[in-house]
Symmetry: none
Subunit: 238 residues, 2 copies
Amino acid sequence: MSTFEYAMPDNPTILIVDDEEDVRELVGSNLRRAGMRVVEAADGLQGILFARSQMPNVVVLDVMMPGRDGLQVCAELRADEVTKDIPVLMLTAKGQTSDRIAGLERGADDYLAKPFSPRELVLRVQALLRRAIVSKEAGALKEGPFELDLAGVKLTIDGAHVDLTLLEFKLVHLLVSRKGAVVDRDTILREVWGYADNVRTRTLDTHVKRLREKLGAHADWIQTSRGFGYVFKAPAQA
Amino acid sequence: MSTFEYAMPDNPTILIVDDEEDVRELVGSNLRRAGMRVVEAADGLQGILFARSQMPNVVVLDVMMPGRDGLQVCAELRADEVTKDIPVLMLTAKGQTSDRIAGLERGADDYLAKPFSPRELVLRVQALLRRAIVSKEAGALKEGPFELDLAGVKLTIDGAHVDLTLLEFKLVHLLVSRKGAVVDRDTILREVWGYADNVRTRTLDTHVKRLREKLGAHADWIQTSRGFGYVFKAPAQA
DNA sequence: GAGAAGAGTGACGAACTCGTCACGCGCGCC
DNA sequence: GGCGCGCGTGACGAGTTCGTCACTCTTCTC
């Protein structure tokens, strides 16, 4: 069984907030070795300022700090519209469950107790980065040869633009976003056309036909589930 | 300092995969009490089947199971296009760092060692759900009274739906996404209409007029910068 | 195999979308 | 203040989109 591999963002920025220089150095060098750009803040206030100005991809945040502690910093990041969505991984002494709960309640995404394996730290940061990737891709959808650009209301298949009407785009978007699952007729009519349930109409059939015509050789990615609805999935092999 | 609060998705679905019925019951009752819908699978294979058919919001997955263990299940979920993005939280016996590392390497998002606090479990599931919320919101844009749903190609103003043509939607989307910045005519024509630079046309003027008509009382959010283009910004006060 | 039901298909026409034109209004410069 | 230019406006018409209809084909059940 091979190790799972995700693509990483190019040179992600990680902000380390810890008053202990040796911890910053340990964490920093390991993250740099893993291909990340590291910014260091020596206290909570500096951490908040850097989070706002640098917009890092992940914040690694020590709980025990003089002045503003990690719990306070996390709460402030979450309360600020600019930084509220930045993933936060908290470092703590070999603390109790109650400490971890306090952090999670303040919006932390993950927790790691000192002393920790540098390898585990890197992997946890990478797991948080993966979630950010999924988030970034929400404005686009790629399945098989199909690529939907939601902002531009554009479909391309194997790199070639396919000219769709708005209704056709909504239809293929619904089916692609539920790839592999049969979407029943009432659901399609409700979500694409805004119809109530149990409406008798042939317009869906007509639009599926028109969409398939435009998909050309890839028409068979949209398959009929008789008596139920339609499903977007790869054609069976010959 | 008050506890941080995030909105939760309506009735999220959590899939629990564990061969021990008492663990499934403990985890399940706590998640249900927290407002979540719970699906249970008694072994790895059933877990994979349910993940595909139910598309849960989070999978809670035990490592130690006869037959297909949690590491294998996680790897298979990640290898499958349909389930690859579902967040996975792994449960293990009081294991070593090396076990956690193996799970993270196979694509798990989080880890919790038995015995665990039910409160901590709920919070960690909620943290994973929050990440899913951020992901869902990437397809929306909100500025002042304007809300654009990119996936649905829908504009609402102060909660009221505004019926736009595709071109009008693209136009308002471009302006809103650059809120406060003047977008010059050539840029608008290029990005919305696909025209080359220096095209002489009045169609933009006409469409801005039509869009303003549809915006009614909010027409003055779209302002003319004479000789340059248009800008989306809050109207000056009287 | 027969019949019923569901989906595919081609064609029609109403409604909508979009670009252009010509006139009028407003702004900025001399 | 006058003039020129840019933008607003109403109207027109070509082209497109969309829903419906009727016929045909396919699938499923008895």
